[in-house]
């Protein structure tokens, strides 16, 4: 007797699900908006715009000229930051938004936060492409240090995945986690060197770098705009935190998963 559905591995099925759910989210987002694909670059563009405005403001206050490199650095940090923020928001909501599926069909539930991060990563990809084109025109970038970019981005994605899994489970049990995440994320931009260089913190720069996103963003800006490799110590620290986040997120998620359908 032929079983129509081929006996594929769990991993293949898992990936099919993640890809399909991410595709669904992307498709819906672009379907609902008249702007279509432009939507992917609008949010990062706004964040970059805000960053540039801050730069001009600071420059005017300090009586300095704003140079292209500073603006480019702000842009290079803003786009991944926008991805980080959107991923966390979206992932936090992912289980609640799919409560029908959580309670009705058995799926490995971690596909929801993972797909949420993946769909945001697609936006990030589009925005990055636009940014690359702009940077190429302004003559910034292109150095050997670019080899560090994938590692730094990977760290950021790992951080999003770990936090996303943990927060999605937390939001399922406590509905106000969502609002807490919103508030924290909104203020986090002030404590993360996105719109300004980390040196602005002076003596306390290392305190600012304890935020694991900071070394990644600073490293990215340095690699893309400054053409220098990221600081090994801080990068290792950020990657370590990201890995720990991932492991912790997965463990917490697995621990709590049996109760999802009952408590949602």
């Amino acid at each position: 007797m032929t079983r129509g559905v081929s006996g594929r591995g769990r991993l293949a099925r898992w990936w099919d699900l993640v890809a399909m759910l991410a595709w669904r989210d992307i498709r819906i987002k672009y379907k609902q908006s008249v702007m279509g694909f432009l939507w992917a670059i609008l949010m990062p563009a706004l964040v970059v715009g805000a960053g540039v405005a801050v730069q001009y403001g600071l420059g005017w206050y300090a009586g300095r000229q704003v140079d292209t490199r500073n603006l480019a650095a702000v842009a290079v940090k803003s786009v991944p930051w926008a991805f980080f923020v959107a991923s966390l928001r979206f992932a936090t909501n992912s289980l609640i938004a799919n409560s029908e599926l959580v309670t009705k069909v058995y799926l490995p539930r971690e596909v929801f936060p993972v797909a949420a991060v993946l769909s945001q990563f697609a936006d990030f990809g589009v925005a990055s492409l636009v940014l690359i084109v702009i940077l190429a025109f302004t003559g910034v970038g292109a150095s050997v240090a670019l080899v560090w970019v994938p590692l730094l981005v990977l760290g950021l994605v790992a951080l999003c995945l770990g936090l996303g899994m943990f927060l999605s489970a937390a939001a399922l049990f406590f509905r106000d986690v969502k609002y807490l995440v919103d508030v924290v994320i909104t203020f986090a931009v002030f404590f993360t060197p996105v719109f300004y260089p980390v040196e602005i913190f002076g003596r306390h720069a290392s305190a600012a770098l304890l935020n694991p996103v900071a070394p990644l963003l600073v490293g990215l800006a340095g690699a893309v705009v400054g053409g220098r490799p990221p600081d090994p110590g801080w990068t290792a620290y950020a990657l370590g935190v990201a890995a720990a986040c991932c492991a912790g997120g997965v463990l917490a998620f697995r621990r709590l998963e049996p109760w999802f359908a009952e408590r949602i």
Partner: protein, 408 residues
């Protein structure tokens, strides 16, 4: 070779109802309160109840097991445990092979996506790969009968179309074990029939099916075995006809208080030529046995027999008096048996039978027991209503009606 595909071993599931903190805003003050007032009034004890209590059964390959029971009997909990959506508090559920659940077909759909996109989305959720879906796409769409609507967002679908497409996807997953929860009630009659055929086909192909339904006819029709759940316990198991009968009797025969009556109806049974049963073919002959018992001497009694449709509307009645029988006189402590033969020219569906015990001349009612038993009628003619007139199309062509075939 061990043919058991589903094994449920002493499974119990406890649910907690009561104070649940579902926001930090509630939880934090509650924790603080608990910490501050150690000796204070304890938190309201969470009310616990067993949704399933020590349930065990096995299902073999290619077998179809029907699960019946009233609301809150634990049927859905059982399916969710089998589907790994919930985890049992005690006991174990073992499933060999790929499992797919057909539980509320709309769960996987997104209203903004088109029919085509939703087929892929829902198919993936149910465990098909992209190639599987592509290969079966035409079969799925053909089954649903929604070919023209594949590029329409499903939010524009009627609820029937929505459910049809959902069932069509789920019916083509081809798992080893299929859980079905009350989905055959969707769509029109034609689609329901197609669903039944598809289910039969799936069972024939060797898929194990667990079928939860309030549609006893479908359970009788599809399943080789059935299980009756009542308040989380298995109260009957065996042939579907017996189990559905037990279910109907349990649900119908509420507490009957016969203590104060001078005479009462002690028993009502429906049987076919081969003995008591619930499933009859339209036009088949059935016998209703009514047993009367008297506490004091009663005179001039007659028995009325009533038939109600599935919605408890009375659609037929007769009485021994009108059938020309002599009045019944009962001694104190006397017992009387009356058996009525019926030809069941009824439309397919569920019907309830009952009896009324009356005095022949002054219409005094001694006892009324209706509904007392239920029967399920099957017919090869798809007719609706109550009566079965066995329609047959004898002319079906262009042209005027021939003389004598239409109205004068």
């Amino acid at each position: 070779m061990d043919d058991t595909t589903v094994a449920v071993e002493h499974v119990s599931k406890k649910f907690r109802r009561g104070e649940l903190h579902d926001s930090l805003r509630d939880l934090v003050p509650a924790l603080v309160r608990r910490a501050v007032r150690r000796t204070g009034r304890p938190e309201l004890a969470a009310r616990e109840f067993w949704a399933l209590d020590d349930v065990s059964f096995t299902v073999g390959r290619g077998e179809a097991l029907g699960v019946v029971g009233g609301n809150g009997a634990g049927k859905s909990t059982l399916l969710k445990l089998l589907g790994r959506i919930l985890r049992p508090t005690r006991g174990a559920v073992r499933i060999h092979g790929r499992l797919s659940a057909l539980i509320e077909v709309s769960a996987g759909f997104h209203p903004d996506l088109t029919g085509r996109e939703n087929v892929y989305l829902y198919g993936t959720i149910l465990g098909m790969s992209r190639q599987d879906i592509r290969r079966r796409f035409d079969a799925i769409v053909g089954f649903s009968g929604l070919e023209e609507f594949m590029d329409t967002p499903v939010k524009r679908y009627s609820s029937g179309m929505f459910a049809r497409l959902g069932f069509s996807v789920a019916a083509h997953v081809d798992p080893d074990v299929l859980l079905v929860d009350e989905v055959l009630s969707v769509g029109d009659l034609v689609f329901q029939r197609r669903c039944m055929e598809r289910m039969r086909e799936v069972i024939r192909q060797g898929t194990t099916v667990l079928f939860v339904s309030h549609n006893l006819r479908a359970v009788n029709d599809l399943c080789s075995r059935a299980l009756l759940l009542d308040h989380g316990r298995v109260t009957a198991a065996g042939a579907p006809a017996e189990v559905t009968q037990a279910y109907l009797l349990a649900s119908l025969a509420g507490r009957r208080d016969v203590d104060g009556r001078d005479a009462h109806i002690a028993r009502i049974t429906v049987r076919g030529a081969d003995g008591p049963r619930t499933l009859f073919q339209a036009g088949e002959r059935a016998w209703v046995d009514v047993e009367l018992a008297a506490r004091t001497a009663c005179e001039r009694l007659s028995v009325s027999l009533v038939v109600q449709d599935g919605n408890a509307q009375q659609v037929f009645d007769t009485s021994t008096e009108r059938l020309g029988q002599r009045p019944i006189d009962l001694q104190a402590g006397g017992i009387f048996r009356c058996s009525v033969q019926l030809d069941l020219h009824l439309a397919p569906g569920t019907f309830h039978l009952g009896a009324i015990l009356k005095r022949y001349d002054i219409e005094r009612e001694y006892d009324r027991w209706a509904p007392a038993a239920s029967i399920v009628i099957e017919s090869d003619r798809d007719v609706r209503g109550v009566a079965n007139l066995y329609p047959r199309v004898v002319a079906f062509e262009p042209g005027p009606a021939s003389p004598g075939s239409g109205r004068p």
